[in-house]
């Protein structure tokens, strides 16, 4: 039987490296914030022009605004993002009109967000994220012991944070849809974790084998291993279909989520129960007996 529990220190190290790596990437590379969080104009266009031709064409936009052109993988669709710069709706309107009137460019989608509103959206998303995390923590705390809640929330934050690092590394646009992706990862992560917690709790409450915490941890992981692999596998299978078939502007979400599933599987197999153990759960169990 694989001794998962004995890996815990190595897993902590791996996770620490991941976290440090993420902090460094975010610090130096930053997040590729979409207009949802920054304000500005966003187009999805279909055109035969090349990237450099488009770049030249968009030279009329003044230099103070950042213009970002990205070709969506494997298609003639481009996404064009123009920063709002100093808030100037008239100019934004002009840019929009000029692009709309170009016969070589077919506009699939255009979107404008006022910078003041994007600030509100950031606040809003943080509220949404924080409140749902809090609810998860409270629920796990009520159903299990605080060690479980602490470890579950840690794993969840860990997975979400590292996924943000992944997005920064590959320059994936961070927007409202990505907040939904991050929440999906959080949901998946806590799901995986709770299944393990349930197992560990039922094993430790069993009179015969409650003494050896390490054996119980290994046993819960082993008994759930097949389920964990099967579920991750089927989820990734479904997501791969989405990656290849989703509309061009939505392919990034399943990619981020696949990464989330992988990191979530890692943290539930190697991190969470180790943390529960290190939070002195063993001692709690013993104290409860005597």
């Amino acid at each position: 039987m694989i001794n998962f529990y004995s890996f815990k220190n190595k897993s902590y190290l791996i996770s620490l490296i991941l976290i440090i790596f993420t902090i460094i990437i975010i610090f130096f590379k930053g997040l590729n914030l979409g207009i949802d969080f920054k304000g500005g104009l966003n187009f999805e266009v279909k055109t035969n022009l090349t990237t450099s031709q488009l770049n030249q064409y968009l030279d009329f936009v003044d230099t103070e605004r950042e213009v970002l052109i990205k070709r969506e993988v494997g298609s003639d669709v481009y996404s064009i993002r123009i920063e709002s710069g100093e808030n100037n709706p008239v100019f934004i309107e002009e840019i929009k009109n000029i692009i709309t009137q170009n016969p070589d460019i077919q506009i699939l989608l255009s979107e404008y967000i006022e910078p003041t509103f994007s600030e509100e959206l950031i606040k809003n998303s943080i509220y949404a994220l924080a409140s749902s995390l809090l609810v998860i923590a409270i629920y796990v705390w009520i159903r299990f012991d605080w060690q479980f809640a602490a470890s579950g929330i840690f794993a969840l934050l860990h997975d979400v944070f590292v996924a943000i690092g992944f997005m920064s590394l590959f320059n994936i646009e961070f927007n409202l849809t990505m907040i939904a992706a991050l929440l999906l990862i959080a949901g998946y992560s806590i799901n995986d974790t709770i299944v393990l917690f349930d197992r560990l709790r039922s094993l430790t409450s069993n009179e015969e084998n409650k003494d050896n915490f390490e054996t119980n941890v290994n046993k819960s992981i082993k008994l759930n291993l097949r389920r964990t692999i099967l579920t991750s596998f089927t989820t990734i299978l479904a997501l791969l279909c989405l990656v290849f078939l989703a509309p061009v502007n939505l392919t990034e979400m399943p990619i981020v989520f696949i990464f989330g599933v992988l990191i979530g599987t890692f943290s539930s197999l190697f991190l969470v129960l180790g943390i529960v153990g290190d939070l002195n759960y063993e001692a709690v169990l013993k104290a409860r007996d005597s």
């Binding site: 999805e44 077919q106 506009i107 699939l108 989608l109 255009s110 979107e111 404008y112 967000i113 006022e114 003041t116 509103f117 959206l121 809003n124 998303s125 949404a128 409140s131 749902s132 995390l133 609810v135 998860i136 629920y139 796990v140 159903r143 409202l176 849809t177 907040i179 939904a180 929440l183 999906l184 959080a186 949901g187 806590i190 799901n191 709770i194 299944v195 917690f197 349930d198 197992r199 039922s202 008994l223 759930n224 097949r226 389920r227 099967l230 579920t231 089927t234 989820t235 299978l237 479904a238 997501l239 279909c241 989405l242 290849f244 078939l245 989703a246 509309p247 502007n249 939505l250 399943p254």
Partner: protein
């Protein structure tokens, strides 16, 4: 027959028939309140998020309240920095605590010379929210007059309005919704005190008039596009009160000019030739058919309580949405197919049960979505895919438990396995469900679309697993489940 004694059988049938009945309206042509709507990202269209000016509204409310106090109690006050300041060198007896409270005010500061009051947060938010509801109706009637049938318009937050219109872009919409449309009539005035000069932005014409309007657009009952010597003009008529005021103003001032001002800029300044008693008039001044019609619509619908600002604007061409749906449907079918193959390969008969369970789960989900008149968006589709994942996960958990119990020779492995696995499923799904509910409450746009389908999906997954999957397990001998060999 043993199977007929299963209560789950009857409930399953009920669920399926119910799902069928609720899904059916979606395929019928007539409109119904129990249909799934498609979001703009799917069907194409355009949306505007409008924000009413909170500061301006606060100011209006302060002025109104201050005037009310002056008129009712003869107590004079100043407005300063968002506060109503009342000097103590007058008799303040009438201003009891109850009166203050009823006006929605609370004490900010009391000094020897003066008291200052602000609106309580609760009162102001309520009042702001009511004002927005009122503005929603005004915007709705404006867009309605343009002839848009399927628009959706709703209040968002305290002072925002979300307007969504499927189909092609109509440039008039933006023109019509973003105007405050405060129409005022002012008589010409030559001395500077209490006067104000308005300028026509196009012609540069200027006229100095009395600052406080003689008549406002609030009295307008109807307005329409008409032609005067082939030139488009806006004809309007006042209600009774407005007619009287208009008649009085025109009869007393024959020979002088008055200004017609819209949102602070001069439209035209005609000379009063005779008294106008019919209560109707015309505005002319270089209109095109379109601009005259837009102005008529705006006047008819009434003015918005404050300035309005478009803070988010979106246009989604129909091709992107169609492509998205086609690809999304194909992706879901392929994903479902891949999962089906895999589950049957791995779990044999039980795998087939899973597939049927998933299909039932999807029907229940769509039935509930239709019943609740939900709007399905692309993030919503992703939420549904996640639901399928959670349903598969629940099945796998149950099968693995049964298999494990079988190996350990535990008595009644099916029921025992199902029950212990279902506790785990409840724990993990409820956690996600609670999180999704909070997401829905606080989130905006795509987050809401995603969380609503996740919420409905989790509930249907929990129901079908408990009823339909368990039914299959109950009526199948463990030998045939395909879970014993390993």
């Amino acid at each position: 027959m043993l199977i007929l004694k299963q209560w789950r059988l009857w409930i399953s049938l009920l669920l399926l028939i119910g799902s069928y009945l609720f899904i059916k309206p979606n395929f019928e042509s007539q409109t119904s309140d129990n249909k799934i709507n498609f979001g703009l990202d799917i069907q194409g269209g355009y949306s505007y998020l409008l924000e009413l000016n909170e500061e301006e509204y606060l100011n209006n409310l302060l002025v109104k309240t201050s005037q009310y106090i002056e008129n009712t109690y003869s107590i004079f006050s100043n407005i300063n920095n968002g506060q109503i300041v009342i000097s103590k060198n007058q008799n303040l007896d009438a201003l009891s605590n109850i009166v203050i409270q009823n006006l929605g005010l609370e004490v900010q500061e009391k000094s020897e010379k003066e008291n200052s009051y602000i609106f309580s947060k609760q009162y102001f938010n309520k009042s702001l929210s009511d004002m927005t509801l009122n503005a929603v109706e005004i915007v709705r009637s404006r867009v309605d007059f343009l002839g848009n049938k399927e628009l959706s318009i709703q209040k968002v937050g305290l002072n925002k309005i979300l307007l969504e219109i499927p189909g092609d872009l109509d440039n008039n919409v933006k023109e019509v919704i973003s105007k405050t449309a405060k129409l005022t009539l002012h008589l010409e005035k030559s001395n500077i005190v209490g006067s104000k000069t308005f300028i026509n932005e196009e012609t540069g014409e200027q006229v100095r008039v009395q600052e406080i309007p003689n008549i406002t657009g609030d009295f307008i009952q109807d307005a329409s596009l008409q032609y005067n010597q082939n030139e488009p003009v806006v004809a309007f008529s006042f209600n009774k009160e407005g007619s009287d005021l208009f008649a009085k103003m025109t009869s007393e001032n024959v020979g002088s000019r008055f200004a017609i001002v819209l949102d602070g800029s001069l439209i035209t300044a005609p000379v009063i030739r005779e008294s106008i008693t019919g209560g109707s008039g015309q505005i002319s001044g270089g209109f095109t058919n379109e601009t005259a019609n837009n102005l008529a619509i705006i006047l008819k619908s009434g003015s918005l309580p404050t300035k309005i600002k478009i803070i988010q604007e979106k246009q989604i061409g129909p091709t992107l949405g169609q492509e998205g749906v086609e690809k999304g449907v194909i992706a879901s079918i392929i994903a479902l197919f891949a999962i089906t193959l895999f589950m049957i390969f791995y779990y044999k008969i039980s795998g087939l049960f899973t597939v049927i369970t998933i299909i039932c789960c999807l029907s229940l989900l769509f039935a509930m979505m239709s019943l609740l008149n939900t709007t399905l968006t692309l993030p919503g589709v992703i939420g549904i895919v996640l639901t399928i994942g959670m349903c598969v996960d629940a099945n796998v958990l149950i099968f693995e438990r049964i298999r494990e119990n079988f190996k350990q020779n535990i008595e009644d492995p099916k029921n025992h396995g199902f029950n212990s696995a279902y506790v785990t499923i409840l724990d993990s799904n409820l956690t996600t469900l609670f999180a999704a509910v909070f997401l829905f409450a606080f989130g905006f746009g795509p987050i809401r679309g995603f969380s609503i389908s996740l919420i409905i999906g989790i509930i249907s997954s929990l129901i079908v697993t408990y009823i339909i999957l368990k039914l299959f397990l109950n009526i199948t001998s463990i030998k045939f489940l395909g879970l014993q060999n390993d």
